[in-house]
């Protein structure tokens, strides 16, 4: 089985599972699927930007923005579920492409830090405008706009599915070539006629829209939002951990990684959660050791294993640049 069929198969399985569980699943299965789908969408969205060479340290900016857009458009304007989500989608896309425009010249760590600053900046704004956002004591979504458990869970499943489909479509399209070229060498990419800013805007709009949408659905799901939650750096970090754990720059990596992250997180929390401090300690250590010993992620580790098993002498995988 080659990676392509493996990927398609995995995609099909994931699609079926995440779309059927909200319909047939037990409450705990629905709950875990919701969180996994949320992370899948965030991880794929983060990975989209990463695959164009844009390392985001501020994905929580999109997430929080989407959440607040939902709460405000529902509470203040009385917009129904789907319309609020479209609003959060649009806000995320706008913010993403705006950020792309102002960070046009920045790369690498400088770009990453700017996104971090953007997220922290939004947090300060949310804290300091209590009249609008409820400030640090937070805001509840008016319960009458809650569309029901099924709709919210299905919404998240659909969001994850559509995100994966978008990522898959992109991986099949010419844009994918531009992203990979930009990631490898923006200068050389330009000489082939690639206008990096255009693609940056596009990818950050898509990625931002997805993360913002996830934030919006999460806001419906949780029903409560405050700045510390909305712009929590942990959202950024888990959306990075998943692709890194699964296999960065790949299609299936973020999905595998998201499932693994939720699994590890729940396992440590449920098995060690009664001892003060231990569950996050173990999570941190797992993170450290997987970076040290699985630098290509689970996907890389698996395909290494695969290659060692298969007798054919394929060329060995490229060392990281």
């Amino acid at each position: 089985m080659n990676t392509r069929t493996f990927g398609l198969l995995l995609g099909a399985v994931v699609l079926i599972v995440i779309l059927s569980i909200p319909v047939f699943g037990s409450p705990s299965a629905v709950d875990i699927t919701f969180r996994t789908c949320s992370l899948i969408a965030l991880a794929v969205s983060w990975n989209l930007m990463a695959s164009a060479g844009l390392i985001s340290l501020g994905h929580s900016a999109f997430f929080g923005l989407g959440g607040y857009v939902v709460i405000l458009s529902a509470n203040l304007l009385g917009m129904p579920f789907w319309i609020s989500l479209i609003a959060s989608l649009a806000a995320g896309a706008l913010f993403g492409s705006g950020l792309a425009l102002i960070t046009g010249r920045l790369r690498g760590i400088y770009f990453a830090i700017t996104t971090l600053a953007a997220s922290e900046g939004l947090r300060v704004i949310a804290v300091m405008l209590p009249a609008l956002t409820g400030g640090a004591k937070g805001a509840f979504l008016d319960a009458k706009y809650y569309p029901g458990t099924f709709t919210v869970n299905m919404g998240m499943s659909l969001a994850a599915a559509v995100t994966c489909l978008i990522a898959w479509r992109m991986s099949q399209s010419r844009i994918h070539y531009a992203f990979r070229a930009m990631r490898a060498n923006e200068g050389a990419a330009q000489m082939l006629g690639i206008y990096p800013l255009k693609f940056r805007c596009a990818i950050m709009a898509v990625s931002g829209a997805v993360a913002s949408l996830v934030g919006g659905i999460e806001a419906f799901h949780g029903g409560y939002l405050d700045p510390a939650i909305a712009f929590d750096l942990h959202i950024t970090i888990t959306s990075q951990i998943a692709p890194i754990l699964g296999g960065i720059y790949t299609l299936s990596g973020p999905i595998i990684g998201a499932v693994a992250t939720v699994f590890i997180g729940d396992a440590t929390r449920l098995s060690l959660g009664h001892i003060e401090g231990v569950s996050l300690l173990v999570f941190g250590l797992i993170l450290v050791f997987s970076i040290l010993y699985l630098p290509q992620g689970i996907r890389g580790g698996l395909s290494d294993l695969w290659r060692r098993r298969s007798a054919t002498a394929e060329p060995t995988k490229m060392a990281k640049p």
Binding site: P27, V127, K137, F140, T149, R269, G273, E276, G277, L281
Partner: protein
Amino acid sequence: MRKALCLGTSGLLIAAALSFAAEAQETFKIGAPVSISGRYVAYGVQGKNGIEMAVDVWKKVRGDKVAGRTIEVLFRDTQSNNAITVSLMNNFILTDKVNVIIGPDGSNVAAAAVPPWKKIEDRPIWLLPGGSSDVIEKEVGPDPYFFHTYAWSYYYHESNLKALKALVGPNKKVALIYSDGAYGRAHIDDARHYIKEAGYEIVSDELVREGSADFNPTLAKIRARRPDILYVLVQTNDAIQLTKQIQASRLNVPYLIGTAQAQLPEWQNAVGESQSCWTGVTTWVPGLSYPADKNEPKLFPSAADWEKAWMEKFKAVPEFLEVGYYASTILTLLAVEATKSTDREVLKKWLEEQHYQTPLGDSKFIKSRVALHQTFGEMVVFQRQKKADGTFEGVLIYPEQIATGKLKPCTY
């Protein structure tokens, strides 16, 4: 072969379903979302200690079971994270089918627990021994199954201002400091309201940043206004460095008024000499003279005895959350024992009618501004005063009937 497999599987499933049903009948399940990692870890540990102590005492006094049911407490770590709290609440109610939820702690996490609990029609009874923010009260609304076993934020300011009016007199200038964090924002509106109602003038109304490295700008501005009363609404972490900085910056304000922090050993240890003169307002403070309950003296001993028992078990002075979790847990166990039922209507009715004298005071539920069930909201005001031996004690100064001393103006 295949048939055997089918039979075996269905047999297993049936067995599992049966055992599940049997278990559901025989177990009394308490869902306890506690933050034992992440930033609210200090609170979470207190909540967990309180519940554990209550179950221990119950088992000692009444045996291992409650109304013939095994007591099972499901401690789940919220990791101080709201998304996980939402998931915990869902699982408690839908999957674990707990009979009662006690917790969680930390305003944000408690607030996050409200919508998932509320949106499920057959939600179990929820006792919340923390979470004073009025947004939580407004969001829960007059819900019949919600029992708040802690004071709402406005109780603090009502009590504080009553005490000030009685002990300091009218026509004072007040400087307010509140943080931009959840604590400050939850308290500021009611604080302003009661200060104005007392006829005091707010001469300075300063926002500070949670976790700020320097409060000097705020204090310098306040110094220029020469207030009589400094009224501080910040959370413990900020309170520690603010308290020290207030002493260092020689404000010369006669009355330093705080809220909950002054009775926390955490704060007292961390600020040392700077605790002098601070007043606090709380539901519980070591040294309260509440008597034991007449009917359940072993479960609800006198405040002093209970404190002693706690010290023996944990080698530390109990904190108010610990008392609150203890009393709330005992109340739910008593409810099940008395009614022999885990039905929420039955339990609710019993809880509404019960009346005990707990180490935390009178347990009778009353209506608050919005919520239907509210107890342990009686607040006492005390002042940290230096004793002759150089250590500090919390001298109760209000209400007058339990006062053990007088409010003294600051000397530094």
